[in-house]
């Protein structure tokens, strides 16, 4: 019963946050000086502008506009891009731009976890050894290099100078899987660098704490091999923070891939957001940003809820 009440409370909180955030977003869009319809279609005749004003609800004032946008969103009408002479529904664009972003995030997470789990375990096990110190300083340096710089430099070295892969572009994994993975190597690397670094540090701190526990000494004294103790007795209890943080990152990464997508010209959601901002497509921009924020809040609360239910110890910590 308590769990159901908690879930209900979360849902109410989540929808309030999303509604207010999107309302503020639409308010922000209306702050643009001048007629919003003129911003959307700068060179169109007055009749077309009036039509667009009617269609988007821009003629109805801030609340009317927001209400029309929100009810449209709930019914699956995500607004349109108004381009010179024609229009393109945002839902159509979304269908095309979501898969590249999701693949990018998925691969980056897999690479980062695959690297950081062994690195974190070993460097915690050999705390303050040479391996530990070198790993932490290399990772510390790596996390400070911004994704745009590492992306540009990686593409210069491996694509332009060495010519191993193409510097830009995207290929669907279903049409041409080999080319898909080849094109994804560089963007995934530049995204995964920072992730690996923060995951390794999280895991290392937790493993060091777990290694001090009595049951680890007990297991070791029973004569179980170090490898088995590390994997079976230490890794599982230490991995909660890591997995929570990895799950939380999913939401943040949807917006965070924007710069990598621009540099490697991957037609993902970040690319579309930047494009719609550049083209001043305020309706499409509002929809895309709202979706990213919704995904972010949704992931955060879901992860929070799951850890709350599965590990009651965390409850009192989140006052």
């Amino acid at each position: 019963m308590e769990t159901i009440r908690m879930i209900f409370k979360r849902i109410v909180l989540l929808s309030t946050v999303v509604v207010i955030a999107t309302f503020l977003l639409s308010l922000l869009m209306r702050l643009l000086p001048g007629d919003p319809a003129a911003v959307l279609v700068p060179n169109a005749p007055e009749e077309l502008r009036a039509l667009i004003r009617e269609e988007t609800g821009l003629s109805k004032g801030i609340f009317g506009y927001y209400w029309q946008w929100l009810s449209g969103m709930l019914q699956g009408d995500f607004g349109k891009y108004y381009l010179n002479g024609g229009y393109r529904p945002v839902s159509e664009v979304l269908k095309k731009c979501l898969p590249p972003s999701l693949f990018l995030i998925l691969y980056a997470q897999i690479v980062a976890l695959a690297l950081s789990i062994p690195l974190g375990l070993i460097s915690a096990y050999k705390e303050n050894s040479r391996f530990d110190r070198i790993t932490s300083s290399v990772l510390f340096t790596a996390v400070s290099i911004p994704a745009f710089a590492s992306g540009i430099i990686l593409s210069l070295i491996f694509a332009v100078q060495l010519g191993w892969v193409d510097p830009i572009g995207y290929e669907s994994p279903f049409g041409n899987p080999v080319e898909h993975f080849k094109l994804m190597i560089l963007p995934v690397t530049s995204l995964a660098i920072g992730l690996t670094s923060s995951y390794t540090r999280l895991l290392r701190t937790d493993v060091i704490a777990t290694l001090k526990e009595d049951y680890v000494t007990m297991a070791a004294s029973k004569g179980i091999s170090n490898k088995r103790v590390l994997w079976k007795h230490v890794f599982r209890p230490s991995s909660t923070t890591l997995l929570t943080s990895a799950a939380l990152n999913m939401g943040g990464l949807i917006g965070g891939t924007i710069i990598v997508e621009i540099i490697f010209v991957i037609p993902g959601i970040g690319y579309e957001i930047a494009y719609s901002i550049g083209a001043r497509q305020i309706v499409a921009m509002q929809t895309l940003i709202a979706l990213v924020s919704f995904a972010y809040v949704f992931f955060n609360s879901t992860v929070d809820l799951i850890t709350n239910i599965t590990d009651p110890r965390t409850r009192e910590r989140r006052v």
Binding site: V17, V143, I145, I152, L156, I208, G255, I277
Partner: protein, 300 residues
């Protein structure tokens, strides 16, 4: 009363003094930050080529050229003076955003956690709303609206820089505000705060004397990290083409040099290196403060 305070600060608040023997990285990071700050303030008085003058006789020369120590861009702009000039804007924007945003966030966060009640619920909600939009996307949206320009009256560079600073400040407020709120929640339920309250000390004095000194280190640690990330966001915005125009900052230099990367790669390497070193130094200081505070890690 003074004796109570004495006991409180020595017994309960284990604010660690910095160790006498500081690690090597401390001096390294300190040297770089001092150098950047010095160049940002006094760069214009130092001898050297003009940053916005194109040298037509030496287009795109490599670093370690006799008159251009760090080389020039393909358009003949001197890299060294460009970097020095860019340091001013990059550092200025980051410092203003973090200091102003941090101050506002701290005031809001401390007040909301100290007084609790309905105000706290509203402020937490406001922070959550602002944090629900990824910070690069939020600053993108803010800048594109606030620095709006059309062909008839384009936004000036000053206005763009102002808008950039304002947007980054708005982005910083909830990040540091949440840290301040969390730390205050921890400290305001301590016995020495209760004791002080029961003696009739005003809320303002309690906050000033008991809460703020304990909350400050946590904010400082995250503040250093925030300076690093603001520099990165500024660079990212420049790469997206809506930051400072015309090579006026490090990110802007990098964005301009991107097209010439195959011919003069130092145009990208040098600003990227300057950004990376500054961010590393800031992160290092943040980490140092955090380690000095982190009970869990220092106990081990």
């Amino acid at each position: 009363m003074s004796s109570t305070e004495q006991i409180a600060t020595t017994d309960i608040a284990p604010v660690q003094k910095a160790r006498k023997k500081r690690p090597f990285g401390f001096y390294l990071a300190g040297f770089w930050v001092a150098l950047i700050l010095f160049l940002a303030v006094f760069g214009d008085f130092l001898p050297g080529p003009q940053w916005d003058e194109s040298f037509y006789d030496s287009l795109g020369v490599a670093p370690f050229h006799q008159s251009h120590i760090l080389g020039t861009t393909l358009d003949g702009y001197d890299m060294y003076s460009g970097l020095v000039h860019g340091a001013r804007l990059s550092v200025f924007v980051a410092l203003v955003a973090v200091i102003v945003g941090g101050a506002i966030g701290t005031v809001i966060g401390v007040a909301s956690a100290y007084f609790r009640g309905k105000i706290d619920v509203v402020i937490t909600m406001a922070f959550n709303i602002m944090l629900s939009i990824p910070n690069l996307v939020l600053s993108l949206a803010l800048i594109s609206v606030l620095a709006y320009s059309d062909e008839n009256n384009p936004a000036s560079t000053t206005r763009r820089v102002g808008v950039l600073m304002l947007s980054l400040t708005i982005v910083i407020i909830p990040i540091l505000g949440r840290i301040a709120r969390g730390a205050t929640l921890q400290w305001s339920s301590r016995e020495f705060v209760l004791a002080s309250k029961s003696m009739g000390t005003t809320n303002f004095t309690i906050i000033r004397k008991h809460i703020l000194p304990n909350v400050a280190p946590a904010i400082l640690a995250i503040g250093f990290l925030a300076i690093g990330s603001v520099i990165i966001v500024e660079g990212s915005l420049a790469v997206l083409g809506i930051g400072v125009p015309g090579g006026g900052s490090w990110g802007s230099m990098l964005a301009n040099g991107r097209g010439n990367i195959a011919f003069s790669p130092w145009e990208v390497y040098l600003p990227a290196g300057a950004i990376a070193l500054t961010v590393i130094s800031c992160n290092w200081f943040g980490d140092y403060v955090r380690k000095a505070l982190d009970q869990r890690e220092s106990k081990i």
